[in-house]
Symmetry: C2
Subunit: 344 residues, 2 copies
């Protein structure tokens, strides 16, 4: 890589799939889940400011500014603060609106894990070459199982450093996921994008003009507070809420995918947090805090400052957070929302 790339870290969400640890202002990205570092800090560290990467732009909500600053520590960053959530298209439009047209923006969620960072960097290098040629680049995760929780990207025409995207596939039923896995040429949509700012600006003006114009006006009327630019609430509120996939990527005809196998996970459930935990014991238990385990295997326990004792348990998650205690089989973790909804 010889180009300077501007990382844009999307830090707006909260999410309840990891309830009760993730909720409200204490969002998933600020938690240490797979290691002792938070996902946000791992994301920042993945594209370190220096030779290849500029200091990041972090897009976050009002309620997360303090945590972003705290977790950035002494590292330089620019914060773009959303006065209200308007989904990813408007968030990315904020970054596009305040960037030079020739800047390459690398948009990344802040709550994912990437185990193989060199592979990620190699993919970024390929993507940067495509982006310079005017492609809107998405990184496609090479699937290792027929997961029904992700959207899929079908590769089309081969390009020098990737593929033109033939089509985006919504989260599929299992049989279709199995078919795509067997067929090859499909990858998971991980929500990581790379493009020239000016190219995305034009794409947005073509495909979702109202979103870009609202974001552009919100930046122009924004209030600066040190390292943070607070987008104007009245202007930003005018932006329709849509994902960048629907608003731009699926509509544009020069979208490329760079497939990459890089140990990626969105840690979308306690099951995947357990699977990716770095310090499991010999019985496959991942425990954080004051945890006593007797004759127990394959569990995920977060003691949350309490004292948790498991005897004879297998393959469950016990998550303690404040006064909330969740007990759920790891195989049932997609149902955590039932509890989150009842409790929040």
């Amino acid at each position: 890589m010889t180009l300077m790339i501007q990382p844009v870290i999307l830090c707006g969400g909260a999410g309840t799939r990891l309830w009760p640890a993730s909720r409200g202002t204490r969002a998933k990205q600020f938690l240490a889940l797979n290691s002792r570092e938070s996902l946000f800090r791992q994301t920042v560290a993945r594209t370190p400011a220096g030779q290849h990467f500029a200091p990041p732009v972090v897009i976050c909500g009002d309620g997360h500014v303090g945590q972003v600053r705290e977790q950035m520590g002494a590292q330089e960053a620019q914060l773009l603060v959303e006065p209200m959530p308007r989904n990813t298209a408007a968030a990315i439009a904020l970054a596009v609106a305040q960037a030079d047209a020739d800047t390459l923006l690398l948009v990344m969620p802040s709550d994912h894990v990437i185990a193989d960072v060199p592979a990620f960097h190699a993919a970024i290098a390929k993507g940067a070459l495509l982006a310079q040629q005017g492609w809107l680049v998405t990184f496609g995760i090479t699937p290792d199982r027929p997961d029904t929780g992700f959207g899929y990207i079908a590769s089309g025409e081969a390009l020098e450093h990737g593929f033109a995207v033939a089509r985006f596939v919504e989260k599929p039923p299992l049989d279709e996921a199995e078919r795509m896995l067997a067929a090859g040429g499909y990858s998971w949509n991980a929500g990581i994008f790379l493009f020239r700012a000016g190219r995305m600006r034009e794409a947005m003006l073509d495909h979702c003009r109202a979103i870009f114009e609202a974001a552009d006006a919100a930046v122009a009327a924004g209030m600066r507070d040190g390292d943070a630019l607070h987008a104007d609430a009245i202007e930003f509120a005018k932006a329709p809420s849509d994902s960048i996939d629907y608003a731009v990527m699926e509509k544009d005809d020069r979208v490329a995918v760079v497939p990459v196998a890089m140990g990626w996970s969105d840690l979308g459930s306690w099951h995947s947090v357990h699977a990716l935990a770095e310090d499991k014991d010999s019985a496959g238990n991942a425990a954080q805090g004051d945890v006593f385990l007797h004759d127990s295997r394959g569990n995920l326990v977060r003691a949350g400052g309490k004292r948790v004792s498991l005897v004879g348990m297998e393959d469950v998650a016990v998550i303690v957070d404040g006064d909330d205690i969740l007990v759920i089989p790891l195989s049932r973790c997609q149902d955590v929302r039932a509890a989150a909804k009842a409790r929040e």
Copy 2:
């Protein structure tokens, strides 16, 4: 019943089989486990002072005096306070030492459940007649399963109101328990006794003189404090520690058993607490406190002031007490001691 009977409630133990709810000074008998009333209060209510029963003598340790008084409320009781635990023989000896020789003493643990109180009263009436004839009477629970957690009593010669005890059987292996259940004529030793005080005094002087003399001296040198008599520590410490079964019942040759089926349980595990919980939901969950259950069956949950959420769980106990949280399959509850030992 036309006789006045003196209930003697043994309230000395603590026990860890229901850890973490039961421990230290917060002993099992003071907890509400199967209903909203504590086991101690249920025990007191079973032999109400009045026509048939005198106000109870409660034998407890120093650390439990406050809780006994609190749970007795306005009801009259006499407390015999043990300066240190010396097992059941010495505890009962305290009651015997301060009773008139002709008084009928009904000794009962304070941490059991008896669902059919009329059946218990009918058995007491039979036992009282035997006790007046000089028998040391034990009540034998008619077994409904080959439980290996109890000692068994073999009935011998038939008496008018019960049976002479042929022998006591230690906690048996399963095959022996099954054999006894099939054979009939065996009952569980529930630790409930009825006898003339003078008769027990003589038996103790015969079989365990050191225990009785220590208790007798401890009562004589005891300090009265309102409703409580604090046994003298120096004297009481001289008492060898032994159970009434070993020290007296198994050695005496005029021991009778009154078999009775009365819905008895010693609530000796979270499994039995679940089995006997009075207010289970339609899915067999017994929940106490702020508990959210989704698609969960057959669980026992005690929230202990926290907020517990179970999703997709079956047949487990989740017991919260202070900062301790125990998660254990109900079928594994005999192993709770592993956690209690590690944590206390």
